[in-house]
């Protein structure tokens, strides 16, 4: 595939279906995942977004209730200091996508509040004392929210649908500040997880999600690409 020409027909039509919104949740999530790794697909999606956007003129504008801006503003006022990056050793840590994702992750922390909206039937009894938003490098993206609760658990869930390629699993990792190797927090199902607190879960710990063989990394260290990453911040 050439980077400068049109994508092949199949890729372009899948992008069109995705932007039009006709794909079911699983297929849409698959497109998002692919777009992060396939620049042609990401470009095709952007082109369809531009082509189809005028259809939104058919919808009558509707002023939102006044409290929504307050919610957005509160979400953005969450701590957003710049994550300090450390040079890591090993091939995984030299992947440009990983570091690109990490530099923008700090701003994404604001999304921790957004997560609350998705558990309306579950009263929030405890507020997290630390949180991270894990985002993907390039392409349309899903954000993962990680919340460290005062009861010692770590809640991880996706803001949006995610797809795991067949025969593979996501695995969750914690990389403590100053540490050179991450510690596995276990295989992460696409619907999220609630796990017991591990010793490395501290402010500024990097939380990573890598793509691994089914059942998780056989080596105890990430073997596949880091799909999402972000740093925990105190709230």
């Amino acid at each position: 595939m050439s980077g400068s020409t049109r994508p092949d027909e199949e890729t372009d039509l899948v992008a069109g279906e995705y932007v039009l919104g006709v794909l079911d949740a699983a297929a849409a999530a698959q497109v998002r995942l692919r777009a992060a790794a396939e620049p042609d697909l990401a470009r095709a999606i952007a082109a369809w977004e531009r082509r189809l956007a005028p259809m939104a003129d058919l919808v009558l504008p509707m002023p939102p209730p006044p409290d929504i801006w307050l919610r957005i503003d509160a979400s953005l006022k969450a701590p957003s200091q710049v994550v300090s990056l450390r040079q890591g050793g090993g091939t995984l840590w030299n992947r440009p996508g990983f570091w690109r994702a990490t530099t923008v992750a700090a701003a994404a922390l604001a999304a921790v509040f957004a997560g609350i909206a998705f558990t309306p039937r579950q009263p929030i009894l405890l507020m997290p004392d630390m949180a991270a938003a894990l985002i993907q490098a390039g392409g349309p993206s899903t954000t993962w929210l990680v919340q460290a609760m005062p009861d010692g658990t770590l809640r991880v869930r996706a803001l949006g649908d995610v797809a795991v390629p067949s025969g593979r699993d996501f695995e969750l990792w914690a990389l403590a500040e100053g540490a050179s190797t991450p510690v596995s927090l276990g295989v992460l199902p696409p619907e999220g997880a609630r796990i017991g607190r591990k010793p490395d879960i501290r402010p500024r710990t990097q939380i990573l999600i890598s793509l691994e063989p089914k059942g998780g990394s056989p080596t105890g260290l990430p073997t596949g690409p880091v799909m999402y990453s972000g740093a925990l911040q105190s709230l």
Binding site: E9, D12, L13, G16, E17, V19, L20, G21, V22, L23, D24, A25, A28, R43, A46, A47, E49, R50, R51, L52, A53, P54, M55, A56, D57, L58, V59, L60, P61, M62, P63, P64, P65, I68, W69, R71, I72, D73, S75, L76, S80, V104, A107, A108, A110, A111, F113, A114, A117, F118, P120, A133, I135, G138, P140, S141, T143, L159, G160, D161
Partner: protein, 188 residues
């Protein structure tokens, strides 16, 4: 705060996104003033519930701020990018809700008559898309409009139209290809 959508030039929207990418929350506030009614209308049309529309709008503006650095003015328009973000959030929220609550049925959508296209008068791109939509057979045009405007999936469209899923999928693909070649004849 200015809420006149017509006054939001593409250049202004792109510039405000650029300031968001640098962490300027006042730029996001301006974008909110310019686009929140439009984006909220879109979210409400897809989710058909005010609480879900509010969630989609909230999430979309948080993402607009977080991901502003990913917007590439070479590839698309700022408004198109924001519209896409709110639609993806609204569709995710709607489909997740439908999955979690098997009995969940969003209210019926209103039927659109073809002359609704007269609302697409915003700019040259809107007029071009409108005239290309008008070249599609009416039945196929209706599918495309329902998909984009009402957030109907292949399966929703098949159920609603009483047509085989395969037919719906192939009509949508042919319509997309036709729209693309109508809009960008040089690419064919």
């Amino acid at each position: 705060m200015n809420s006149d959508i017509a006054s939001a030039s593409p250049e202004l929207a792109a510039e405000l996104l650029g300031r968001c990418a640098e962490g300027d929350r006042t730029a996001l506030r301006q974008l909110y003033g310019l686009y929140s009614a439009k984006l909220h209308g879109i979210a409400f049309r897809v989710t058909r519930q005010s609480s879900l529309a509010a969630d989609a709008l909230h999430d979309a503006f948080v993402q607009i701020f977080q991901q502003a650095s990913r917007f590439d003015p070479e590839r698309g328009s700022a408004e198109g990018w924001m519209i896409a973000l709110v639609r993806y959030r609204a569709l995710d929220i709607l489909r997740r809700r439908a999955r979690e609550e098997p009995g969940f049925e969003p209210p019926e959508t209103e039927d659109e008559s073809p002359d609704v296209l007269t609302r697409m008068v915003g700019n040259a791109e809107a007029r071009a898309l409108r005239s290309c939509l008008e070249t599609l057979e009416p039945e196929r045009r209706r599918l495309v409009l329902h998909a984009f405007v009402d957030g109907l999936s292949h399966t929703d469209l098949a159920t609603r139209e009483g047509m085989p899923l395969g037919t719906i999928k192939s009509w949508i693909r042919r319509s997309l290809a036709a729209l693309r070649s109508c809009l960008e004849p040089s690419l064919v």
